[in-house]
Amino acid sequence: MVGARKWPRFGAMAVAVLSALVVSACGSSGPAAAGSGGGRGSFEVADYGDANDVLEQTAVNMYNATPEGHKVKAVLQTFPGANYSQKLQTVIGTSEAPSVFFNWGAGSIQSYVKAGLIQPLNSDLQSNPKLKSRFLPVVMNAGKIGSNYYGIPMRGTQPVFLFYNKSVLAKYHLTPPTTWSQLLSEVQTLKAKGLIPIALGGGDQWPELMWIEYVYDRVAGSQLITQALAGDHNVWKSAASRKALADLSQLIKSGAFGKSYDSVKFTTGASTKLLVTGRSAFELMGSWEYSTAQGISPSFAKHDLGYATFPTIPGGAGNATDLVGNTQNYYSVLKRASQQKAIGDFLSEMYKPKFVKKLVSKGWLPTTTNATSYIKSSPSPGFLTWQFDRVKQAGHFQESWDQAWPPAQITPIHDAVGNYFDNQSASSFISAMSALPAG
């Protein structure tokens, strides 16, 4: 009986505990309060969790060691990289939103800017002019929406290049292709030798997007995407757009990517392994291909990994020096973050020599104006110097389409690209891309 009498009390306790849980859960998803992230004397910095987040930890440690950092601490919070965009989108409207967060520039934060969540950094740039002048202008501008700057560059730039296996090309007396027709002819030679001429991680879809981005740039010029991003749907139906798709279709149908590229992924290391093992001669990939190859075989990365710019397509409007890729990653600041002054101090760490040196030591190409003086200390000075020159000489550096458009358009873009590689239906691709809203 005593036990039975305890039950109502236990039930009441259970209700109380659960109610408390619910109240706290509702609190975290309710409208945001001012001064989010960290405690009163701190602010949170949300970062893309991967092997490189050690760099951001360095920046946080550097800032925390300064007199300003002693007063208001920066606290690093990493979101697992694979789901970074989803996590950020889920948390950004809540009181748990980080004060400072990693992003891919204007396209990736546009919806947050529209929702009035992001702080324009113009006044910080005025009070500390170095925050602008120490970075390459082309990169600062990619973090700009309208007349406002919303991002300070962090990490480095990651253009896409045509990587190749030097031994394979030498074995078959080939050279890196400079024109589209040379690429098509080398594909035939390599195919005849039983190789998959070009490694492609079609299972991830975004490596396929890189091909479309470059072919569009070379055939139609950089203007087409600028117009499409501005909301002009007709550009997709233009003759240049159809020519770009036809050229790519010719390459796919020639067997350049083999028969099983849909089942190959870059993210599992499988496509790079094709290049490293010599079963493929080429792979179009971001500059991180170097470190990926290094992870599989350090000696291959050092001696056998070649890199070239994307071939030109005769008769095309594109510039041979144009690049596509991830122009840069940025830190943006939440409007309702309470520690704006301290955050400004933290952001200035991004151009300090110590941080730039750390970036270079990890094989990144910083976009600060003083980057060249540190490149020699990197593990791959040759590759970094070559990359820096390509970025400096680039007529246009096109942000990857899946980052230039808002995050909600990533799936439609990837689906359109994936389907085109499967069925080469130009009309389906054109109608899918025409359905995208302005970027």
Binding site: L18, L21, Y112, Y261, T268, K273, T411, G418
Partner: protein, 318 residues
């Protein structure tokens, strides 16, 4: 004391018997119908974590919400879009197809393995223990392992071209659905085998002894004794398979991401994709409501048609 002694003329033995009887009755009443308070934790839990979110999901299905700002009411827009969306229709068919393929492949394999594993012998026990290893692995780990094993250039397809052809298992719909069915079979058969093994061991030995005396061989015994005795177990495992099939998500997320095209996009994955890739929580909520309705209807149908709700014993008269 004296007053009490004189006033109570009942036999002390009779009194104690009555008290004991009353206590017994009270205990029986309590054991049979526990206080309503007992149901409070489960009710509160179910209300907070199932009914309340479901209500919110129904409300969200009439709004447009990207996760940022406040949801804006859009009336029936998500619903009209959903009913005219070919991907949604295909995703429901695919979900039913994968569930059916799961039941059709997993039931015979796990039934035979379970009956075999129920027998005696050391080698059989060792093999059975080894065979249960997939049960210890999370679905995510299983999917990652199979993605690597089925890589066309560095996995099994490269070693066994006569079996896998070009090895493009994730490049065409039929093969991709085949891979999902196979991985489900590999992953879940041990669980159902375990259930069949336990159920087979519970069948009275006397039934087999009597059958042997009557001259029934192992095959005849399997069809006339084992199978009928496993009827209830079979219904239980099939319900688990149907629920498992309809909620398959992480395997698709890791192995195929709904590709090629949308040919492996089940309703559960489509819901996730709309919410967390396209940030369209309104449409995702409408899909969630459809899933709840479809899954509830199938659940009710199974319990009605199979007689599961009656659950009559298979051992009456034994």
């Amino acid at each position: 004391m004296a007053v009490v002694a004189h006033g109570d003329r009942r036999d002390p033995g009779e009194l104690s018997r009555r008290v004991v009887q009353r206590r017994r009755r009270s205990r029986v009443r309590k054991a049979g119908r526990p206080s309503i308070v007992w149901a409070v934790p489960a009710t509160v839990y179910f209300t907070l974590f199932a009914l309340l979110p479901l209500g919110v999901v129904v409300w969200l299905s009439f709004t447009s919400w990207s996760g940022v700002g406040a949801p804006a009411s859009v009336g029936l827009r998500n619903w009209t879009h959903l009913f005219s969306d070919p991907v949604m229709r295909e995703s429901i068919w695919l979900m039913l197809l994968l569930t059916a393929l799961g039941v059709v492949t997993q039931t015979p394999v796990s039934l035979l393995l379970g009956v075999w594993a129920a027998g005696k012998g050391r080698s059989r026990s060792v093999l059975t223990a080894l065979y249960f290893i997939p049960l210890l692995m999370s679905s995510a780990a299983v999917a990652i392992v199979w993605r690597a094993l089925l890589d066309p250039n560095f996995g099994l397809p490269h070693q066994l071209p006569w079996l896998f052809g070009s090895g493009d298992l994730f490049g065409n719909p039929a093969d991709a659905i085949g891979v999902l069915t196979f991985v489900g079979l590999w992953q879940w058969t041990p669980l159902y085998t375990l259930i069949y093994q336990g159920a087979t061991r519970a069948i009275p030995v006397s039934l087999y002894e009597a059958a042997s005396i009557d001259g029934a061989g192992p095959v005849r015994q399997f069809f006339t004794i084992t199978l009928p005795q496993l009827r209830n177990t079979m219904i239980t495992t099939m319900i688990l398979m149907v629920i498992g099939g309809m909620t398959t998500f992480e395997t698709i997320l890791i192995l195929t991401q709904g590709h090629p095209g949308n040919s492996t996009t089940t309703s559960a994955y489509y819901m996730y994709s709309q919410a967390f890739n396209s940030f369209d929580f309104g449409k995702a909520s409408a899909i969630a409501v459809v899933l709840v309705v479809v899954a509830t209807a199938i659940g009710i149908a199974i319990t009605k048609w199979s007689g599961y709700d009656k659950m009559t014993s298979t051992q009456e008269g034994v």
